[in-house]
């Protein structure tokens, strides 16, 4: 036992997960993806600005190079992970009908996964396709 008053119930302390049943997982992942997105986003915007007006050959030459493919997969993964977590919070705040809320959260989760996968496949086709 620690000194001083404690405001947590014995059960809450034992389980340590809080009302959402997943502890600080959601909060922490949202921060980690945000942190990763700071340099990735700056890199992406700077690169795209540098490619303004470039043709298909120049853009795919850039997108298909190994460092770009790696950074783009990180960018897409962090972006859609962050988007899913954030949209979930917005839905939880504004959709009060329980079934609709759960359905919307599942839909956003699937959509984010599908969009991330589509992006990765497109990148792999650019890098390794003929």
């Amino acid at each position: 036992m620690t000194d001083g008053p404690t405001f947590r119930s014995e059960l809450g302390r034992a389980r340590g997960l809080g009302a959402a049943k997943d502890g600080v997982q959601h909060w922490w992942t949202q921060r980690l993806t945000a942190l990763a997105l700071v340099p990735l986003t700056i890199w992406f915007v700077a690169s795209v600005v540098g490619l303004a007006g470039a043709d298909h050959a120049a853009v795919t030459a850039w997108l298909g190079s190994p460092p770009t493919v790696g950074l783009m997969i990180l960018l897409v993964g962090a972006t859609f992970n962050h988007t899913q977590l954030s949209f979930q919070v917005v839905i939880e705040d504004y959709v009060h009908h329980e079934a609709l809320k759960v359905a919307a959260i599942i839909l956003v989760k699937f959509a984010c996964l599908a969009l991330a996968l589509a992006s990765v496949i497109a990148l792999l086709v650019i890098a390794f396709g003929d």
Partner: protein
């Protein structure tokens, strides 16, 4: 869950908008807008993978007046959300939470958003052939 008529704390319509609350609202608004904007990113990547013809169509759409307008809006949203996201990370680390610091970083965020957006578009147009 039982639904009793319980008193609620004062909400949006009670308060005069302040820099703090407006910037907070804009963070969520720009975040949702950027979520929609990811569709353009995915479309652009798929078009680039599909070949020169599909990519030319995508470039034409993005280069149209409406395309540029959307892209300009998303640039503002991106830099705003990026800058305010860094603000949030600094707050999460426990710094800059005093009222003067919050207002100072809020004003800096507005300046950063405008400067970064205009600089990106200026440089982008400078790259155009």
């Amino acid at each position: 869950m039982p639904t009793h008529e319980r008193p609620l704390s004062p909400h949006l319509q009670i308060y005069r908008p302040q820099l703090t609350s407006v910037l907070s609202f804009l963070h969520r608004l720009t975040g949702v807008a950027l979520g929609g904007g990811t569709l353009l990113l995915v479309y652009w990547l798929i078009a680039a993978a599909a070949g020169p013809a599909a990519f030319a169509t995508a470039q034409e759409l993005i280069g149209s007046f409406l395309g540029r307008l959307l892209l300009f809006g998303w640039t503002i949203a991106l830099f705003y959300h990026l800058g305010n996201g860094v603000r949030h990370l600094v707050w999460d680390a426990g710094f800059g939470l005093g009222l003067p610091a919050v207002y100072a970083s809020g004003r800096a965020l507005i300046v950063f958003t405008i400067v970064a957006t205009l600089a990106s578009w200026g440089l982008g147009y400078g790259m155009m052939p």
